[in-house]
C-alpha cells in the first residue's frame, strides 16, 4: 500500500491526478451548494424563535466547520511533509492555508451578522468566538511565515511546524461551547445521537456542509496544481506542458 501511495508523491502524477479529480469536486460542489443554499434560504421552514434571520446558519455553520477541517487538512499535510519528506504534501499545505483563512473569515463575518439580530451585538469576547479568531491568526501566521522564506522547501517546513503546533486550538474551538458557559449556542448536529434540529432544516444544512467541503476541495486542487507548476517550473514535463499550451 505504501508503494502504491508513494507513486503519487511524484509531482507529475500528483498534478495529473488532481487534474482528473478537479471536475468531480467542482460539479459536486456546485450541485450541493446550489441545492443546499436554495433549499435552506427559500424553502426551509421559518424558525419560531429566530424568524428568518436564522437562515444564515446555512452559510455560517458550513464555513465554521470547514475552517476547522481545512486546518486539520493543512496540519496533516504538513505532518506528512515533515516526517516522510514528501514535497507534494508541503505544497498541498501551502495551497490550503489561504483558503482556510478566507473560510474562517467568512465564518466570523456571518457569525457577526447573525449575532447582531440575535444577541444584539456584533461581537462578544466569548470562548467560541475568541478561539475562532485565534484560528484566523494561526492561518495568517502560517501564510506569512511561508511567504517570508526565500527558499520554499524551508518555508514549507517552518510553516508546517507552526501549523502542527496550532492544532492544539482545534479541540478548544470544538468543545468551547461545552466547556465554558457561552453565549454561542451548543452544537445542534450530533453524529451519534439524534440532532436537536428539525429534519427540514437539518438536511439542507448537511448538504451545504458537504457542498462547502467539496468547494474547498475544488479550490484547493486549483491552487495545488498552480503550486506544483510554480515549484517545478524547471522540470521538462512542465516545460512540455507550457509548450503544448502555447501551441493551442
Amino acid at each position: 500500500m505504501w508503494k502504491w501511495l508513494h507513486s503519487y508523491a511524484d509531482p507529475e502524477r500528483a498534478y495529473k491526478l488532481s487534474g482528473t479529480l478537479l471536475p468531480w469536486f467542482s460539479i459536486l460542489a456546485i450541485l450541493l451548494v446550489g441545492t443546499g443554499s436554495i433549499w435552506g434560504l427559500l424553502f426551509a421552514p421559518t424558525d419560531y424563535q429566530q424568524g428568518d434571520s436564522y437562515r444564515i446558519i446555512f452559510i455560517h455553520v458550513p464555513a465554521a466547520s470547514m475552517s476547522m477541517a481545512a486546518y486539520m487538512g493543512m496540519a496533516v499535510a504538513s505532518f506528512i511533509g515533515l516526517v516522510w519528506q514528501i514535497k507534494s504534501a508541503d505544497w498541498a499545505a501551502a495551497a490550503i492555508a489561504p483558503i482556510g483563512a478566507v473560510i474562517t473569515f467568512i465564518a466570523l463575518l456571518t457569525g457577526a451578522a447573525w449575532g447582531k439580530p440575535m444577541w444584539g451585538t456584533w461581537w462578544v469576547w466569548d470562548a467560541r468566538l475568541t478561539s475562532e479568531l485565534v484560528l484566523l491568526f494561526l492561518y495568517l501566521g502560517v501564510i506569512s511565515l511561508y511567504a517570508s522564506f526565500e527558499d520554499k522547501v524551508l518555508a514549507a517546513r517552518a510553516a508546517g511546524i507552526l501549523a502542527i503546533v496550532g492544532v492544539i486550538n482545534i479541540p478548544i474551538i470544538k468543545y468551547s461551547v461545552d466547556w465554558w458557559s457561552s453565549l454561542h449556542q451548543p452544537s445542534t448536529i450530533k453524529i451519534t445521537e439524534k440532532s436537536t434540529m428539525s429534519t427540514d432544516m437539518l438536511y439542507p444544512l448537511l448538504i451545504n456542509i458537504f457542498g462547502f467541503g467539496m468547494m474547498i476541495g475544488a479550490i484547493t486542487l486549483i491552487r495545488y496544481r498552480a503550486e506544483i507548476l510554480a515549484r517545478n517550473g524547471m522540470r521538462p514535463w512542465v516545460r512540455e506542458l507550457a509548450k503544448a499550451e502555447e501551441a493551442k
Binding site: L82, V134, S144, L154, A158, I161, L162, G166, N169
Partner: protein, 228 residues
C-alpha cells in the same frame, strides 16, 4: 559509544554559560523589565487614576505587559548564537538538541520571567489590585511565564534565520499566548471575588507540563529548519 559529557553536565554547562553571558550584559535583563514597568505605568495615565477602575483592570494590564515583555526579550534568545555559529555547534553535539534547548529556555526564564514575578507585586500595589488577588497573581505568573518562554521559543526558533523576523514573531506567538492570558486573568479575577481559583491554576499547570514536554522538540525541529 562514548558520548563525551553526561546529559546533566551538558545541561548545566549551557545553563551556566547563558546566565554568565547575561550577567555580563546586564542591559539584557533590565531592558525587558523596564519595558514591563513602563507599559504598566502608561495605563493609569491613559484610562484615568480612579482606584475602582484600576482594580478592575489590573490583572489584565499586568498580564498583557508581561506577555509583551516576554516577547520583546525572546527575540534575542537564539540571535547571538545563530550569528556566531554556536547554534550549529549545538546542533552537531552528541547531546539531544531538545535538552540543550530546554537549558537555554530555562536560562531565559530565570533572566526575564523571575525578575518579572518579583517586581509584579510592586506594580499590583500601584494599580490598587485587590489584596485577595496577590496570591493568585504570583501563582499565575509563576506557572504562566515559563509557558510563555517555552511557546515563544518555538516562534523565535522559526524566525531566527529571517532578517525581518520581529513583526512576524508577534503574529506567530501572540495567538499561542492567548489561552495563558485567559486562564491567568480569570484566576486573578476569581481570587479578587473570593472565589476558588484552583481550577484555572490546574489548567495553567497542565499547560506548563504539556509545553515543558512537547515544546523542546518543536523548538529543536524549528532550529534545524532555520539553520538548514
Amino acid at each position: 559509544m562514548k558520548r563525551g559529557i553526561s546529559y546533566t553536565a551538558a545541561f548545566m554547562t549551557l545553563l551556566q554559560r547563558d546566565l554568565r553571558i547575561a550577567i555580563r550584559h546586564r542591559g539584557d535583563i533590565f531592558n525587558p523589565l523596564l519595558f514591563f514597568i513602563l507599559v504598566v505605568t502608561l495605563f493609569p495615565l491613559g484610562i484615568g487614576p480612579e482606584p475602582q477602575v484600576l482594580t478592575r483592570v489590573a490583572p489584565g494590564i499586568i498580564w498583557v505587559a508581561a506577555l509583551l515583555a516576554s516577547m520583546l526579550s525572546l527575540e534575542r534568545l537564539f540571535k547571538a548564537d545563530f550569528s556566531d555559529g554556536t547554534l550549529e555547534q549545538m546542533l552537531l553535539s552528541p547531546q539531544p538538541l531538545s535538552l540543550l534547548v530546554l537549558a537555554k529556555v530555562l536560562a531565559h526564564w530565570i533572566l526575564t520571567g523571575v525578575p518579572l514575578i518579583l517586581v509584579a507585586p510592586l506594580l499590583a500595589v500601584l494599580l490598587h489590585l485587590d489584596s485577595n488577588s496577590y496570591g493568585a497573581l504570583m501563582a499565575t505568573l509563576a506557572l504562566g511565564t515559563p509557558v510563555l518562554s517555552l511557546l515563544g521559543a518555538i516562534g523565535v526558533a522559526l524566525t531566527v534565520g529571517l532578517r525581518k523576523g520581529g513583526v512576524l514573531l508577534s503574529l506567530l506567538i501572540l495567538p499561542l499566548y492567548i489561552p495563558v492570558l485567559i486562564f491567568a486573568t480569570s484566576a486573578i479575577d476569581a481570587a479578587g471575588l473570593n472565589l476558588a481559583y484552583d481550577g484555572q491554576l490546574a489548567i495553567l499547570a497542565a499547560m506548563l507540563v504539556g509545553s515543558l514536554i512537547l515544546a523542546p522538540f518543536a523548538i529543536g525541529a524549528s532550529l534545524r529548519v532555520s539553520t538548514n
